[in-house]
Amino acid sequence: MSHPDTTPGARPPALLGTQGAIFLAIVLGAAVLIPALNLLTPAGSALHVPTYLVSLLGKYLCYALLAMSVDLIWGYVGILSLGQGAFFALGGYAMGMYLMRQIGTRGVYGDPVLPDFMVFLNWKQLPWFWYGFDWFPFAALMVLVAPGALALVFGWFAFRSRVTGVYLSIITQAMTFALLLAFFRNDMGFGGNNGLTDFKDILGFNVQADGTRAVLFALSALALAFGYVLCRYLVRSHFGKVLIAIRDAEARVRFTGYRAENYKLVAFVVSACLAGVAGALYVPQVGIINPSEFSPANSIEIIVWVAVGGRGTLAGAALGAVLVNYAKTYFTSGVLAPYWLFMLGGLFVAVTLFLPKGIVGTFLDWRSRHAEAEPDVPGATPKPVA
């Protein structure tokens, strides 16, 4: 675990440390193995991975990417967004709208253009903002543009008027709450509380076919890997060093001649786009997108995943997301069902008290204490900021 920079005048640091390599190995390995085990092995064989598990894990991976997007701005820039769920949901809606349009005449009313919910609320024609979503490239573009644009506008205002700390956190929460209320309204034309569901196929493949699920899983894994490499590259670039500097001493950064707000804005938008991608991959795998994804509670939960895994460690965020959600899956069935909230709540309290740096953060500390080495990720263990 030697830092590339220990010799004067060394080349810029390698993109991946061991930690990153391990992480990628696992994710990419899963991307190959899980679908293989699902499709190639006969059901009932010891190695067989049931489809149920594939889409479940796929869901976890989307959450992992979402958590990573939060870690990028929280762990490295100190922006605590309590509204990240909004970007996730917007990406999800963009994908959901595409999937709705794909249903075509197979809706219960057999209307070629209008989704069912519009028919029985007798809407006459498609609202303008639904145009184009029947064309995949456009929808795919919107997956990035919708959350990106929201982040751009919101961030542009917030960062240049130097809203920071809890104030920023609370208005991000207000933002997602406003969107929650807006999308609940049936008049908005997004299916109200029921949201978008009963999808048939994506790019011509049946969303429920095992093959499609396997591919979606693999894609989620690749997206996560890509997201990791991207974030990793960003935080290790000169740009990323400025981000961390902003987190630790924003005023100093300004006096050093950097436009802190622009740096924050770029990071914020990138993070929003990642969240959007996560949402887009999430929707076809869980089969529904509805306004509850906007609920502030969801966004807070994302923060919790990151904290559990270890803030400012990227891989930790992903790990936290998977662990917490697995715990949720596990606790919510069987004898534990009535008590799972105790366990989840207890887990959060315990982590904050005993693992303030999260699982990975704590581990990295432990390691750097043992093997005398600089942290692999710059600012891996940030001092508390908000």
Partner: protein, 269 residues
Amino acid sequence: MSDILMAPEAANPPRAITEKTLTDALLYLNGVSVTFDGFRALNALSFTVDAGEMRAIIGPNGAGKTTMMDVITGKTRPDIGEVFFNGGTTDLTKLDETEIATLGIGRKFQKPTVFESHMVIDNLRLALKGQRGALANIFRRETGEERDKIDAIFETIRLSDHRYRLGGALSHGQKQWLEIGMLLAQDPKLLLVDEPVAGMTDAETAQTAELLRAINANGHSVVVVEHDMTFVRDLGVRVMCLHEGSVLAEGTLDQVSANERVIEVYLGR
């Protein structure tokens, strides 16, 4: 050493502000007043700093030294008064911190603020004069001469052995130097240095004085705010004493410390 003590402008008597000085002065403050709900931090403060000059500013607590720096660096907007840079070409009161910093005014805070979770070398890399744009810096690569510059600075601030330690891990004195190093990396026309030797050993203090003189020697104008009189003496430059937000006396340290009113202020008679 001595040549710096005998530096021409050090001997000059205090000058009234005239059109002439406005045009050649690097920094020019005129009638600057700042009020924080009732309390007058700066009171019609006027003075100039010439290119290549080093100026020490002393004064009791609450004399407005830090506020003055805030005004110059754009952290605080003056209620009235003008602040010009580059011989009256640029009005600093219209600009924000970032713009002023890019103009070439560097600032070292009273409490040393370095980027604690960055390695020392990265602290310098960040400060190094050059590309400041967000997008451009995503793909930025470090050039050869940038590396040489940094090495040079390491020599100047005597931290070569610490380049890969975290900024937070440095001692107080080392942080002070690192911060000065960062100022050098920024290569500003004017350095504002706020209490650089607070909490330093005598040895360190002496070294710091030397360091600042060196910096000033190769063309940077420096404004130092300091309490420590021995340090100011070491610097051996024109001294300006602030009191209640305006200039009380100006001249060599001996002239100033001989000044009746200064003594009054300091000994509070």
